[in-house]
Symmetry: C2
Subunit: 354 residues, 2 copies
């Protein structure tokens, strides 16, 4: 049976990417060697890394605009402390839109003053705060562009002179976006880019050397930038598979084209959530995420029936996060619209049945 993978991450990747990655583990091109047993200093791998960095900048339309792309390790969780180490002199502002922003704030506090500029905590993060004032003396303002757990997404990037830093782990490469508004953004690979195990960081080259503290080498962006993401052995499989996905995104027409598809997929599902008398959406309508749709049954007694319908249709990974409950349909780039349609028919079948 075909499985419809709505998992929040690690999550679905294009079938072609998984086929190519699988082949490369057996033998990379016609090298006679597996991808995972070649030197990261070999010509073939250096080219993989360089192409991945180049494509990441090209897809985000940041080529020749003074940005660098890095492939690091440690996930977004490592970026929480790393971004503060490199950028936080005195004071950083945060828009608190959920679990991940909260964690980012906690880490940054170890290195300087942290101001919560706005928060939607009082409503269990079901909306994105708006209309807040941004103090002009912040070293940077940190945003989370998509909140995987709560299913909200930042639609309008705040206008400010303060440098913007963003965690884009769950919506990078998913929509048309002015990436040049950010001084630095990062994303764990395991949603729209590749397997867990590498983190893409894109940053303006002029942010290096802004703080006077001594930074541990592994947490120093300038060291990684100088060495082309080869300060230490990179996670070769995760980087290579990310490159395959970036090539796939390009072959799909880039972010503009992918963005249109994602808007269509999520509109289908949200329309059904709103139409269907058995379901209710969790996130505020105007802040709904195109990546993660969070919703609940109006009558929790139908849980078992709906779960059975989904299971027999091959739907996987639909369970909501414990902080929200209910359901979460993650519709990353690689999820085909057919999977969304299968989910919608399960929802409709439930309604017909009861």
């Amino acid at each position: 049976m075909k499985i419809h993978n709505f998992c929040a991450g690690p999550s679905i990747l294009p079938t072609k990417v998984m086929d190519q990655a699988s082949k490369a583990v057996k033998e990379l091109d016609k090298s006679g060697l597996s991808l995972i047993e070649i030197s990261h200093r070999s010509k073939v791998f250096v080219e993989i890394m360089e192409e991945a960095c180049k494509l990441a900048l090209e897809l985000t339309k940041l080529k020749d605009k003074g940005y660098k792309a890095l492939f690091l390790q440690g996930g977004a969780s490592q970026q929480f402390i790393m971004s503060a180490y490199n950028l936080l002199k005195n004071k950083a502002g945060f828009i608190n839109t959920g679990t991940w922003s909260t964690k980012a704030m906690k880490e940054a506090k170890l290195l300087g003053e942290v101001i919560e500029i706005a928060s939607s905590k009082e409503a269990n993060f079901n909306y994105i705060p708006k209309g807040y004032n941004i103090p002009s003396d912040l070293d940077y303002l940190h945003l989370t562009t998509n909140n995987t757990i709560f299913g909200t997404q930042l639609k309008d990037i705040p206008s400010t002179q303060v440098p913007l830093v963003a965690d884009m782990s769950s919506d990078i490469f998913s929509r048309n976006f002015d990436y040049s508004k950010f001084d630095l953004f990062y994303a764990g690979a395991q949603k729209n880019m590749g397997p867990a195990g590498t983190t893409l960081v894109i940053l303006k080259e002029n942010i290096f050397g802004k703080v006077s503290r001594v930074i541990p080498s592994i947490l120093d962006y300038s060291i990684h930038a100088k060495s082309g993401s080869m300060f230490n052995t990179p996670p070769v499989f995760a980087v290579y598979t990310s490159l395959l996905t970036l090539r796939w995104i390009k072959s799909q027409g880039g972010i503009d084209s992918i963005g249109v598809k994602n808007a269509t997929k999520s509109k289908y599902l949200y329309d059904e959530i709103d139409r269907n008398s058995k379901f209710i959406g969790f996130a505020a309508e105007k802040d709904r995420s195109e990546m993660n749709a969070t919703f609940n049954l109006v009558d929790p007694a139908l849980t078992e029936s709906f779960d059975l319908l989904c299971e027999s249709a091959g739907i996987s990974g639909l369970k909501g996060h414990r902080s929200v409950g209910g359901y979460r349909a993650s519709m990353y780039n690689a999820l085909p619209i057919e999977s969304v349609k299968v989910l919608i028919s399960c929802m409709q079948n439930l309604e017909k049945k009861y």
Copy 2:
């Protein structure tokens, strides 16, 4: 043509492991999903992580001895600062045996006093220092058990009451060793354990909470230990492939049996280096590494001829590190003795020819 992979790392892994890893990227067992698109919180992946941790302790004979195994990210380079963050109160001692020890010292210095107890720098690290005194007031003594670049290996673990910490990146699981003499040891996966992208850390459970400083979460061993290496999304492919290698090591009879094979392989090669009039070993005889044999041509004018002989025999990755020059034959667990024999015949052919 069969390739004989003498690469220093990322390096050769068992063929069976690469086949299984390749299949899992296509589909994990009969789940209908790829290894890289399943949730790290799924039952199947939690079991993978638990088995990998269990096997790592079993193979090092540390089961039920108060140790924990963790699979983290960031390589040994991250452990240089992480071990200091968690263990360095006032003063740490280091035996400086090469590039990696030097880097480890540099990072630890950010957090406390660092004493170089002994060093072989004056001889370009071609031997392991011995007969030094270890001050009793050290928080820990840091050792590098095998020096990939220089081809030296620590044979006798120093006797001391001071806690021992070791970087075992290039010889973990390669020889019979009393691992219980160490309070903490770590190893990047990409030599004897798996693909680059995960780092095994094994530590005594009683070392938590020894320092009063606030530790960034991602660098706090106790946080990773409490969450079963799932504080953040683990590098699923690297952990799974490491598990496959650990199973393979067990199937080979464990470290005792592997150790005998490694001793045989390296004896073959060192005997030839010593016998063959065209070659000279780099490392001091009694400190020679079973993992990485470093050697040079007596007459550098023969370089091209020897390189051609090796190339036509399918030998790959033999070039020495720039700090030493010449050649380096890395003979990790997965390298078959046949590959060593092929290298030896190339050396003998060179001697016959000139």
